[in-house]
């Protein structure tokens, strides 16, 4: 490799970091209210709408957007395309942070947070949620294990245990890498199974038994765009080299992956005849059109042009569209699509729900920034040095 991952020597306390801190404090205050007066005090959840944005946005799209971790691991480590190793570490870090926050969002959302361990003991094997929970628990562990070598590189000299674990992992890492990909395929698809149990309470646009396959293929498709987005944000905000030499080839693979997802999605819609309601102007139909039109078809067409793939700005735009499209898809499946048969009002997230979500996102950015500052994660060189 031409570039070795290394810590970033940039001042840590920037205005951006302070904004993140403010959002984190807002979320923390909301959570104090949540644990004093109950979910009713800070959310709009009720007996008609048991799940809101903490599940539909934080958990569902959080899991999807962490797909960069297992898709890059697959490419670089399993297929042996070592060329892509430059992006595996940041993708791994995002995945580890992403999943840690998925777990936290679940923790805050469930009524009995302290009982979160119970599915390990009381198992219901017919429940798709049970399977998601087990895989996510296992995968968070695997991700942080995969991260140990990064920690060891910096702290191995001081903390003997880390150096020791690092030596063991040298020989056994392949098991965790494969396990990570397998666990990801399992729960990415099972997340799609969740709402299949309620076909009468979901819009026909999304109520399909193929939902697990759609979730899996869209997770494959969003992995590299997510890497493109986060690498571009990190390298431009930290003023590092753009790494386009790695991102451009990733975007070519994305054409294929996104195409597969699009084909299955359209095929499913046509074969079920669900497209009939597509132009009825309802919120559901519009959300679907935006999801597929702006989130899948437009960026897919954009990526077909080599000029887009080579331009930092256009590639970022296309990747951001794909990422937003998959986020919107998860939100649509869990929130927009949900029809409560006896509700008088639709669900809108409460301020408290938005505060906690924003705070969780800010915490991810904050920790990302903290970790790339102290640990060897990013490979890109400082612009001034290399240009």
């Amino acid at each position: 490799m031409t570039h070795k991952p290394q810590p970033i020597d940039r001042p840590f306390w920037t205005p951006g970091v302070l904004v993140m801190l403010a959002l984190m404090i807002g979320a923390a205050l909301t959570l104090i209210v949540r644990y004093t007066y109950g979910l009713a005090a800070v959310t709009n959840l009720n007996n008609h709408y048991p799940w809101g944005i903490w599940i539909g946005l934080d958990v569902a799209s959080g899991v999807a957007l962490a797909a960069g971790g297992f898709t890059t691991a697959f490419l670089a480590h399993i297929l042996g395309r070592h060329y892509y190793e430059a992006v595996t570490r940041p993708a791994l870090l995002t995945a580890a942070l992403g999943y840690t926050f998925v777990a936290l969002a679940v923790f805050f959302d469930i009524g009995r947070s302290w009982a979160i361990w119970k599915p390990v003991v009381y198992q219901n094997h017919t429940s798709a949620l049970f399977e998601v929970a087990m895989c996510v628990m296992a995968y968070v562990t695997v991700l942080w294990i995969e991260f140990i070598p990064v920690l060891a590189e910096r702290l191995g000299g001081k903390i003997r245990l880390l150096a020791f674990l690092d030596r063991i992992l040298d020989k056994t890492m392949w098991v965790f890498i494969i396990l990570g990909v397998v666990l990801s395929c399992m729960h990415q698809s099972s997340l799609g199974t969740l709402m299949v149990i309620a076909p009468t309470k979901t819009s026909p646009l999304w109520a399909t038994p193929l939902q697990p396959l759609l979730f899996l293929t869209s997770a494959f498709a969003v992995g590299y765009p997510m890497v493109i987005v986060e690498t571009t944000i990190a390298t431009s905000s930290l003023r590092l080299e753009s790494e386009m030499n790695v991102l451009t080839p990733l975007s070519r693979i994305t054409i294929l992956l996104l195409g597969v997802y699009l084909a299955i999605k359209v095929g499913d819609l046509v074969s079920r005849g669900a497209y009939a309601t597509l132009l009825d102007g309802s919120a559901q139909s519009n959300a679907f059109l935006v999801e597929v039109g702006l989130g899948v078809i437009l960026p897919w067409v954009m990526l077909l042009f080599p000029a887009v793939r080579r331009s930092r700005r256009w590639l970022f735009t296309a990747a951001l569209l794909i990422v937003s499209g998959v986020m919107l898809n998860r939100f649509n499946v869990f929130v927009v699509s949900f029809k409560a048969p006896y509700a008088n009002h639709p669900y809108y997230p409460a301020i408290g729900e938005i505060l906690v979500t924003a705070g969780a996102v800010a915490t991810i950015f904050f920790l990302y920034r903290l970790i790339v500052t102290w640990f060897p994660v990013l490979s890109a060189q400082r612009q001034e040095v290399s240009r």
Binding site: G38, L75, P119, I178, V182, S189
Partner: protein, 307 residues
């Protein structure tokens, strides 16, 4: 790049085949108890006295109602069962008139249907909800984590939640008076109090016969439909009526049990963990092959320059 493409297609293919392959699993089987108890509600008999609501509160130790039981104006509010109320009576005017041209109301009791193959039971992450042999869908608070997937899954929108309790909230719904009907000769609180025998408690098979008898005995009066006989694969609570069910708050639901699709997907994918194990094997083989190839390459040449 050709190699990585093929590898990816392979993985997508395996995953895709896995999520659509039904052949490896046995056909889905209902887990419904063979001869559960049930209740038959005859909407033509109910007079809307709210005695069943009151009895339910008493036998289940529920808090006092928001509106006093002798206040019948509440009947028009289209209430739903909630965390403090396991059953409610709603009043509907469907345009039916009596001989003196006065509108005739229809009263509808709402509570958990105690489905034969309940979506809530299949969905519950910990198995806190179970379908008992006597027909009751039973909730065990000691296993519940409060994820509320049961609520999202229930087609009748029945389970309610104590959103106002910060640490120890419970899922709340009609218990079918599990303790009472487990005793010899025991009846649910609501069924035993009804002054006009609008609620009949008994074996589901016998209730179906009874319902069919009433419909056939007075075909001019009853709609030819036992609600709950086939809806979502059958429910322990059954209804017969003299007005269209759709006009008095009942949904038109498929006859397919709600958990059938998801349970088929889950078991064809994960029985004996065959698909994860197979995927692990394939990926291991690919990784082994590529790392051998990598080692064999004496010079570490750069690949992937093809964009």
């Amino acid at each position: 790049m050709t190699i990585s493409r093929r590898g990816f297609l392979g993985a997508v293919g395996i995953a895709g085949a896995a999520s659509t392959m039904p052949g490896t699993a046995q056909a889905w089987q209902s887990k419904a108890p063979p001869d559960p108890y049930g209740c038959l509600v005859d909407l033509t008999r109910c007079v809307g006295c709210r005695k069943c609501e009151q009895a339910c509160k008493e036998v289940n130790d529920l808090p006092e109602p928001a509106v006093k039981f002798d206040d019948l104006t509440v009947l028009d509010a289209k209430r739903r069962p909630d965390q403090n109320t396991f059953t409610v009576i709603n009043r509907y005017y469907t345009g039916r008139i009596d001989e003196r041209d006065k509108l005739v109301p229809t009263f509808v009791k709402v509570q958990c249907m105690h489905c034969q193959d309940p979506a809530c039971v299949s969905a519950c992450i910990t198995g806190a909800l179970t379908k008992k042999d006597n027909g009751a869908v039973h909730y065990d608070v000691n296993k519940c984590i409060g994820c509320r997937y049961c609520m999202a899954a229930c087609p009748f929108e029945i389970p309610a939640y104590e959103y106002d309790r910060p640490i120890l909230p419970r899922v709340r719904k009609c218990t079918f008076c599990f303790e009472r009907i487990s005793k010899e000769g025991g009846k649910p609180g609501c069924a035993s109090i009804c002054p006009v025998e609008a609620i009949t408690f008994g074996r589901r098979s016998e209730l179906l016969t009874l319902a069919r008898g009433r419909i056939e005995g007075d075909p001019g009066k009853y709609i030819d439909h036992i609600y709950g006989e086939r809806e979502v694969g059958g429910t322990s609570w059954l209804y017969i009526s003299n007005v269209e069910f759709g006009k008095v708050g009942f949904q038109k639901l498929p006859t397919r049990p709600m958990p059938q699709t998801t349970e088929t997907i889950q078991s064809s994918l994960f029985s004996y963990l065959w698909s994860p194990l197979a995927l692990f094997g394939v990926l291991g083989a690919v990784m082994g092959a590529t790392s051998r190839k990598h080692d064999a390459d004496t010079h570490d040449k750069e690949d992937g320059h093809d964009a």
